[in-house]
Subunit: 426 residues, 2 copies
Amino acid sequence: MPVAQERNLEAYCLDVARRAKAASAELAVAPGALKNAFLLDLARRLRAETEELLAANALDLAAAASFRLSDAQIDRLRLSARSVEAMAVAVEEVAALRDPVGEVIESSIRPNGLEVLKVRVPLGVVFFIYESRPNVTSDAAAVCVKSGNAVILRGGKEAAHTNQAIARVMSQAALAAGLPADAVQLVDTAQREAVGHFLALEEYIAVAIPRGGEGLIRRVANEARMPVIKHFTGNCHIYVDAAADLDMARRITINAKCQRMGVCNAAESLVVHAAVAAEFLPRAGAALTERGVEIRGDERTRELVPEAREADETDFAAEYLGPIISVKVVGSLEDAIEHVNHYGSGHTEAIITSDLAAARRFAARVDSSAVMVNASTRFNDGGELGLGAEIGISTDKLHARGPCGVKELTSYKYVVYGNGHLKDER
Amino acid sequence: MPVAQERNLEAYCLDVARRAKAASAELAVAPGALKNAFLLDLARRLRAETEELLAANALDLAAAASFRLSDAQIDRLRLSARSVEAMAVAVEEVAALRDPVGEVIESSIRPNGLEVLKVRVPLGVVFFIYESRPNVTSDAAAVCVKSGNAVILRGGKEAAHTNQAIARVMSQAALAAGLPADAVQLVDTAQREAVGHFLALEEYIAVAIPRGGEGLIRRVANEARMPVIKHFTGNCHIYVDAAADLDMARRITINAKCQRMGVCNAAESLVVHAAVAAEFLPRAGAALTERGVEIRGDERTRELVPEAREADETDFAAEYLGPIISVKVVGSLEDAIEHVNHYGSGHTEAIITSDLAAARRFAARVDSSAVMVNASTRFNDGGELGLGAEIGISTDKLHARGPCGVKELTSYKYVVYGNGHLKDER
């Protein structure tokens, strides 16, 4: 890129970030009614402008071949009247959430009479980098505004027209509601270098959130000078305990693996207690095979499931995101926990058991963002866990773990009331 | 360094980190009684071994000249019978805190009957890098163990003998209590490269916490591949509002500036509403000058305080940590908020006012970890705010903001109970 153009790009990014920071100061103290007025008006406008959104989306779909998108990617990119309606509903659901800002999280009166309030506050500016699915644009903006944050949206170039159309609707809604115009900004350049410029602006941007492939997340994590909320792989396990209801175990395994294969909370690995393997695995194996799922198992699994292929170390660590599952037979609950903690990615695991002690032990010792007891791994998302819409699912342990909704986009401050209190001179 | 030795160092660091990780899995599920038994025994042993600790400290003091330590640094390094007693008391205070691990932070029953618990869990392994003061060694270990984390302690080489002696006592207490021997490890090498090796071990270490000079913190923040809880500068403000009790304002200013000048929550800047400047500044100025504090002010300040020198931009942004204060006269509360947010470091600010609306507006709009209303900035520490002992004070906004006590060293996981729940097939 010529130097002059590079400078222009850098100046553009700095300007966007500065305006976002200024808007964030206003948004931080905006009353909930104002934020909700924006969200409800946005939902109304999304519905009203469905035709325009679909027309913009058609331009992206027409260009999809030139970006060499796969069929699955094109499917994710495609809008319909139904998906626009779903976008509007999602925004309304965010409006219905309780305003997280200003909540007194904890409070105490100290022995010296100081009153200490720990008050929830927004983070400031969120830089959100994401790929493909256009509904993410309005979801993310809604979650950020509800939590009092300004957001800089950087969508994929393959969805540029659709995202611009959605951003236009959001600008109109912001204007109508009296929200700062820069509360929601869509980055208006396809230049890849723009991301790098934003990631250096730690003075203005509080957090970077990448949502997409592992390459994108690694790049952002490496380059960002501000904190990053990361969403790495989900190598999720189902552990079928000795005390499992085996019919329930089979249904949950099928649901967790097959209900939607390409998502992070789908099961990738099945761990079975030796005491029930002979009864469980032949039937579960047949049910998986019937649904086109390839089984890669250890020796005992292959004895019980004739169609199983041999699993190696990479299989037990893999996030397939497709029709393959690894299977391991273990001698004890302890071995299951060790296997999960060794090969898992800390995303979501499930135990199927009617044994209370086993359930409690597994839940306490498995080091993952969510542990399901007698439920499908597929329930680890913001909506299902009651957080409302999410901007992503964190595989980090600091700040936010698991689904990131409006609360996870906040920080806190201490507000302390005294009446002339002096340190060590009480 | 020769390659062989470099390899040994790397292998040593990896071994320490691996052992810490293994210990952290045990500690994460250790009952509170076990952790408290360790802490109370540690306090007892610190008292019993006072003579040995002082003897080890004498070796460090004797070597202080060779490290070119300043008088202030030697003072921080020095132990006494009284400071060992204070270390023991601090450890007992941590024992008395409620165990944060296992707390159900939130819970709900979803419409489909799923029971969702958000449960507090430890982070894992904490890598703590600190300078000079030996009491930090036992404080940090106590806070980490109480919160169920293993800790790798990397103290300054100038305190090596003292830290080794404290670590020996901690090992004895761990052994006696039946805690994993590797729950608390002191890095046993003075080699600077060791820190770099640890900062690359993100697979084993959950968080790095540097506590010391800005150079140390920047190095750790730049090199660490795991999250870092940072403690940067404290450019703390006192704002004297138009509606301030001016006697209170003067007392708080003196306390915040002079009670202890070298600490992060000491005041560095005074902002005064023009309506009270003529009455407040001459007396406050005289009181500060009397205590040896140099005043650097804007034009109006210099008119009112003859001994004031001229302040420039760098003064308003400075953390002096010594006998200098910058002074600015502003025309309104809004100007005060803008000044504080522009020049401040987000650490601690105070407003002195009897005007409720002004207090609420300042507290809501100033973007700092703590806002004091009619109290000294010096109250922003873990003990004063009711968190107990702290491992540091965060100037970050993500994860932990302000004092980091036992709760700030935890994460959470979702534990979800169902009875065969399947996604989208309810």
